[in-house]
Amino acid sequence: MTDHPVLSLEHVGLRIGGARILNDVSLDVPAGEMLGVIGPNGAGKTTLFNVVSGIIRPTEGRVLLDGQDVSHVAIHHRAAAGLGRTFQTSSLFQALSVVENVRMVAQAHAGGATSVFRTPRRTDAATTRALETLAEVGLEHRADAVASGLSHGEKRKLEIAMLIAMEPKVILLDEPMAGVGSADVPALTEVIRGLHRGGRTVLMVEHHMEVVLGLVDRVAVMHHGELLAVDTPEAVMANPAVQSAYLGEAV
């Protein structure tokens, strides 16, 4: 579509108190790429996602979305501009039903989400869309359950469904597999692959190397708030610095 990358970070830095959490992170993500982000615990991966989605403002550098500088744009504007994300620990509307969780997103996407003049109905477009989305991730049978009563794996799926309903251009996934039992990993992997297949750009933080390596085009490695390397999975796995800092003897 366009020649510029859909998401780019220019010398992004973040200090909190005296601590440098992010240091001179520059990164271009072309449209349609699936990028894995790995790194030791505390490397700054979640923080990087927070900076991109606007939850934290960087103290240095710029974040560009579709060529536009969004460093000082509010969270909800970025979301409306097509940036979707999940959280490391499930973040849902616990008291709402599963379908309501998704419908909220569908409405936000379709506009007029905060209208007093429109009443959600069983049959309206947003609800239909929500149910479709739930079917995509295999949660349609739980549509009327209250979100807080879902099992861990189901919550993960609901998060993804909410993402799909947003129809975002750029997706940030923070450890989608954490706590998902081995038995459910393959199915969830498929769902994520499906997200990407629609031509969307996906950034994914994940410690399950087998999942990362099976999905991504490139891998970005973070360490101590810096970007150590961005390269193909094979090259990254072969990198001795990555091995010692991140993978350990497990490889």
Binding site: G42, Q88, T89, P186, T189, V211, L247, G248
Partner: protein, 245 residues
């Protein structure tokens, strides 16, 4: 075999009126690691919480001969039980140091040991635990249990969200701990289970469906497939995607 450290007989557990643990019975021997396994939502966490009295429970439980099924949580823990909860549950508004200080039960807590095990969190003593990264929180949570001498450790998914290298380190730490204290371990990572577990208890739908030596389960593809729903577990580093159709 010597007396088990923990004997669970006919344990029932409820959350909000709903039965989540049903008639569970098993023993945890006085040495080594016993793994509690099962798919998502079968009641592993709930079993551990029932043992500690953190949820409504009934049934017979003995810790080294002392009956504990009527005891309040803090008394059970004071008998020498260390607990690493599933969702880390660090106190977000307290600093790392305060989190650890709160956990110290013994007159001589093993501070050096912790410092050696998790140098990263030692460096972050003054940081509020709520601002730690997910993995760092997990380390604090583990450290809280390991700082005391215990008679039994209850450890719920200690490697969740940890980088592969740290997973190894945690496994190593647990292996070291297991030399002196028996552990009841809930874990999803088969690699870790293989490395640590001597015995396994498998849950399904809130009930025990298998107990035995770890090798009885882990060397039997069929059983793995049946109890844990995993196809190919012999090589945990094979891409998960590759194992599905």
């Amino acid at each position: 075999m010597s007396e088990p450290i923990l004997r669970v007989a006919g344990l029932f557990g409820r959350i909000g009126g709903q039965q989540v643990v049903e008639d569970v019975s098993f023993d945890v021997p006085a040495t080594g690691v016993t793994a509690l396994l099962g798919r998502n939502g079968v009641g592993k966490t709930s079993t551990i919480k029932s043992i500690l009295g953190l949820i409504d429970r009934s049934g017979g439980m003995h810790l080294g001969g002392t009956r504990i099924d009527r005891m309040p949580t803090h008394r059970i823990v004071q008998l020498g039980v260390g607990y690493v909860p599933e969702d880390r549950e660090v106190f977000g508004s307290l600093t790392v140091a305060e989190n650890l200080r709160l956990a110290e039960r013994d007159a001589a807590p093993r501070r050096e040991f912790i410092q050696r095990l998790f140098p990263d969190i030692h460096d972050r003593r003054a940081q509020r635990a709520g601002t730690l990264s997910g993995g760092q929180q997990q380390m604090v949570s583990l450290a809280r249990a390991l700082v005391n001498e215990n008679r039994l450790l209850l450890v719920d998914e200690p490697t969740k969200g940890l980088a592969p290298r740290i997973v190894d380190e945690v496994a190593e730490a647990l292996a070291e701990a297991a030399r002196t204290v028996p552990i009841l371990l809930v874990e999803q990572n088969l690699h870790v289970i293989r490395r640590l577990a001597e015995r396994v208890v498998v849950l399904s739908g809130g009930r025990v469906v298998f107990t035995g030596e770890a090798s009885d389960l882990l060397d039997d593809e069929d059983r793995i497939q049946r109890f844990l729903g995993v196809h190919d577990a012999t090589d945990p580093h094979d891409t998960a995607a590759g194992s599905t159709r």
